[in-house]
C-alpha cells in the first residue's frame, strides 16, 4: 500500500475554504484515494473517494492530478463543527485487499471563530 504524507495540523477560520493536500508518490494503478474525518472518541466517517480528476459530493471535493501522486481535499466554507482529524488513505479497495486500510497520523484541522 502506498505511504501517504499530509500536514500534521492546519488552522482556519469559519467561512473559509480549506484545502488539505496529501502526497502519495508510490500510488499503484489499482489504488483509490479515500478521505475520512474523525471526531474525538468516534469512529472515522467516510468523506470522499476518488481515482482520478475531480470528485465532488455534498460535503467536499477531491482533486487528483493526472500523475495521481498527490490529492487535495477541499472543504468549502468550513464551520466550527469541521474541527476534526482528517485522514488520507491510499489503497486497493477491491477484493481481499479491503481489510488493510493503513492510517497515518492524519491532519488535525482547527477551525476558529
Amino acid at each position: 500500500l502506498a505511504k501517504t504524507t499530509q500536514p500534521i495540523s492546519m488552522d482556519s477560520y469559519e467561512g473559509q475554504e480549506v484545502n488539505i493536500t496529501c502526497s502519495h508518490n508510490n500510488i499503484a494503478t489499482n489504488d483509490y484515494i479515500t478521505w475520512y474525518q474523525q471526531f474525538p472518541s468516534q469512529g472515522p466517517r467516510f468523506i470522499i473517494q476518488g481515482y482520478k480528476t475531480k470528485v465532488t459530493n455534498e460535503v467536499a471535493s477531491l482533486f487528483i492530478p493526472a500523475d495521481r501522486k498527490s490529492s487535495t481535499l477541499s472543504l468549502p466554507r468550513v464551520s466550527l463543527s469541521d474541527t476534526a482529524v482528517y485522514y488520507c488513505l491510499v489503497g486497493d479497495m477491491s477484493s481481499s485487499n479491503t481489510g488493510k486500510l493503513i492510517f497515518g497520523q492524519g491532519t488535525t484541522l482547527q477551525v476558529k471563530p
Binding site: 472518541s41 472515522p44 479497495m93 481481499s96 479491503t98 481489510g99 488493510k100 486500510l101
Partner: protein, 113 residues
C-alpha cells in the same frame, strides 16, 4: 438503512481479564474488519472476517481473536488484558469485491486498570 453498530460503548476491565466486543455491519455488507486506536494515533488494523473466517491479520498477538456469525455480525475477543490494550476499538464493514470503502462504527472505549 442501519449503519455499523458496536457494543458496549464503554468498558472497564482489570489486567489479566478477558473481554468481548461486538459489531453489527452496515446493512448489505458481508465483511467486518477490526481496528485498535490508541490515544493520539490513527487506527491500526487487527484483522478482517469474511464468510466466518479470518482472512487477513495485522501485527497483533494471538491474544486477539475474533469470530463472525452467519448474519455477518462479529466479535472481537482479547485475553489476558494488558494496560496497553486500553484503546478505542473500531469495527468497519464493507462488501467484498466492491471498490467501495469501509464504513466505521462508533467504537468501544476499553479501559484496562
Amino acid at each position: 438503512d442501519a449503519g455499523v453498530t458496536q457494543s458496549p460503548t464503554h468498558l472497564i476491565k482489570t489486567r489479566g481479564q478477558q473481554v468481548t466486543l461486538r459489531c453489527s455491519p452496515k446493512s448489505g455488507h458481508d465483511t467486518v474488519s477490526w481496528y485498535q486506536q490508541a490515544l493520539g494515533q490513527g487506527p491500526q488494523f487487527i484483522f478482517q472476517y469474511y464468510e466466518e473466517e479470518e482472512r487477513q491479520r495485522g501485527n497483533f498477538p494471538d491474544r486477539f481473536s475474533g469470530h463472525q456469525f452467519p448474519n455477518y455480525s462479529s466479535e472481537l475477543n482479547v485475553n489476558a488484558l494488558l494496560l496497553g490494550d486500553s484503546a478505542l476499538y473500531l469495527c468497519a464493514s464493507s462488501l467484498v469485491f466492491s471498490v467501495d470503502t469501509q464504513y466505521f462504527g462508533p467504537g468501544t472505549r476499553l479501559t484496562v486498570l
